[in-house]
């Protein structure tokens, strides 16, 4: 899923300074699962915003709403009849949701309330970690199911670097060395011969470096 964290309140309060009535808009997908921008977080931020503005003596009306999916024009359309009554939309969706609103409602200011972080998985309750960098050409089949792009601090394809120590990455004791994990899993799978093969320089065109990406499914596109 896409993970995110709420922006600091100081930044949020500053960004809504000019407004007196906002729509605080959550999303029922990834940001709900990572507790950054679902119904619950919308309610919490709504309360915090009202309190924060009252404390300044500048009360603000905060309407709370959570869409099924903010990155989908179909659901964003729901706002069309009511949106004009607000000064701005404060979106708690990931950057994709924020932009879908911006695209559909060109004259409505949209403020991001969260910092979109990474594509990750839940390690344990309340802990999420990066797992995929969306490189567009997945190599997990050669690396024991552990991603060298997203999980090695130097995205090394023929690792590990000299900094790998006791299973940890040189950058921090809190970060596992991806190549230690890869090696351990290859051993587990009886696939250590995969390690000896030189992995070729990556074609980063399929990643962001080829310019903004797009998927068109001709069997589906109307």
């Amino acid at each position: 899923m896409i993970t995110a964290t709420r922006k600091p309140m100081e930044e949020i309060l500053k960004s809504v300074e000019p407004f007196s009535k906002i729509l605080l808009l959550g999303c029922n997908e990834c940001v709900t699962v990572c507790h950054a921008g679902g119904r619950k977080e919308v309610a919490l931020l709504g309360a915090a915003l009202r309190l924060g503005r009252l404390q300044k003596g500048l009360p603000m009306e905060v309407e709370e709403l959570t869409l099924e999916r903010q990155c989908d024009p179909e659901y964003v359309e729901e706002l069309s009849r009511t949106i004009d009554q607000y000064d701005a939309v404060c979106s708690m969706a990931c950057g994709c949701g924020v932009q879908t609103i911006a695209e559909r409602y060109p004259s409505m200011p949209v403020m991001p309330m969260v910092n979109t972080a990474f594509m990750g998985a839940s390690e344990s309750h309340g802990v999420w970690a990066e797992r995929c960098a969306g490189c567009g050409d997945c190599v997990l089949g050669y690396t024991g199911g552990i991603c060298p792009v997203a999980r090695c601090s130097k995205r090394i394809f023929n690792g590990p670097c000299g900094g790998s120590t006791k299973g940890k990455c040189e950058i921090s004791n809190d970060v596992d060395c991806a190549w230690q994990l890869i090696w351990d899993r290859l051993k587990e799978l009886g696939q250590t011969e995969l390690y000896s093969k030189l992995m070729e320089p990556k074609d980063w065109r399929t990643a962001r470096d080829g310019g903004p990406r797009r998927i068109v499914r001709e069997d589906m596109a109307l």
């Binding site: 309060l13 309610a43 309360a47 915090a48 309190l51 924060g52 009252l54 300044k56």
Partner: protein, 142 residues
Amino acid sequence: MSDFEPVVVVFACDYCAYTAADVAGRMNLEYPAGIRIVRVPCTGKVDSLYVLRALEKGADGVLVAGCLDGDCHFKNGNLRAAARVKALKRLLDEINIGSGRVEMVQMSAGQGAVFAETARNFVATVQELGPNPIKHAASQAA
């Protein structure tokens, strides 16, 4: 300031603090009049939103009162509540309401005296902090 009687909402766990408050009452131990007790099945049930709503509605302070470490009837509801209170304190500082208006406290069911004393101390702290700033701002705005 001395005539300021803070309104303090206490989310009291049924298995400890709520009973302790009862014991305090039966022992005729005094605690301040502004205390409003809300009985909850476990402090683990105290959503961060309850606390914010209480403050939004004008409470001057909020106490979350749960069981002693290791005594939670639901294993670790009290620890979860403590973690939430910690995060709430940070949030309240960020929006200038002040982290001092929320506290997590722990006690056992028999500790009526502890309940009364904790309530008195917290009310005194809130008295120092003054009224919930949103009331002041709201009256100014009016």
